[in-house]
Symmetry: C2
Subunit: 228 residues, 2 copies
Amino acid sequence: MAGKAVVLLSGGLDSAVAAAIAVHEGFHVHALTVDYGQRHLRELDAAKGVAIALGVKVHRILRVDLAGFGGSALTDKSINVPEECPSEAIGTDIPATYVPARNTVLLGLGLSWAEALGADAVFIGAHSVDYSGYPDCRPEFLDAFRRVSALGTKRGVEGKPVSIEAPLIRMGKREIIERGKVLKVPFELTWSCYIGGKKACGKCDSCTIRLKAFAEAGMEDPIEYEQR
Amino acid sequence: MAGKAVVLLSGGLDSAVAAAIAVHEGFHVHALTVDYGQRHLRELDAAKGVAIALGVKVHRILRVDLAGFGGSALTDKSINVPEECPSEAIGTDIPATYVPARNTVLLGLGLSWAEALGADAVFIGAHSVDYSGYPDCRPEFLDAFRRVSALGTKRGVEGKPVSIEAPLIRMGKREIIERGKVLKVPFELTWSCYIGGKKACGKCDSCTIRLKAFAEAGMEDPIEYEQR
């Protein structure tokens, strides 16, 4: 029987699959959603729904005002979210939707809660095969953070560091969706769109990548779009 | 002329000296105080006073509820802060006042703000010569976090990572106080006590270490104590 794990749950598709994997592996999952001042709260509602659907008993939503720092299209209304980005251009550069040091902050918070709880692992839905362009989704970044966990915590010093689990890191987006299907992830509750209207826009980077992946998996994306 | 720097400013003596060093080096200092649910708010007032006295123009106080995670005598009222710890025992073990992964969280937030600002450095008042017993005050932890800065940020990928500056890391507590005196740090505004009454208790680990260091430096500590 596995012990406790903290899962970083954003409300998006990837972290929902990561959470389902942690549940499937037998961990007692404690979901952590960080409200860092995203442009819309739709993601937070999605995270709540996903946690309930996966049977997660403990779900904490923590407010941390990274938006006040600025510097990202996801939190700063003066920077436009790129739309209709041609798919070839995705991943050739770091996108405007990069939030400075976001995964370092999220993993740090997850690590703090995990150590306080006596949890053995922090799960994150990062992946880099269908390259997202985010530096903090790369295996080498996660390895660097593992050293931080080993050296910067009481548990690490005692020889049993909290492990940093990124079960999607070597998967392509299509494979993530296929794995999620097997694990009965409630895709209809997830939210990936960066724009945050009543329906997903279908045009931003995140919608584009998601729609392409569902198409490649031969599945219908169950959420509604303004346009596909 | 140095550029901008984010300085983690707690209200304690060490971070006040680190801030004075950053100012002295010519950085345009942006002070960051994280209100993580310490047992008392006295430290936050101290941080405000220190920032003003050092001429810091931008001071942000960010609320992050690590107290809700539990696991530390500094944030959890059910765990007692050790008092009258014999000085030989200080540093032989990780104290109850350790906050899980605290410096990882603080440095992550500092890094995020630094990158958003275009700042070149994050300053932290960590030191480990008069060994505090905190794993996340050690040079090897800071080196691990430097790799996180290099690999997990846009600036790092572009070859100019935000540097992590710990100017006190090789200093003993006495030397920190002597350096602070030269730089005219307003010691009377700083607050080190873990208990947080009207006057400093004079008995907790933090008061004990501070009083000993002032004595060794041949200086009078200007703050008031319940007992010395």
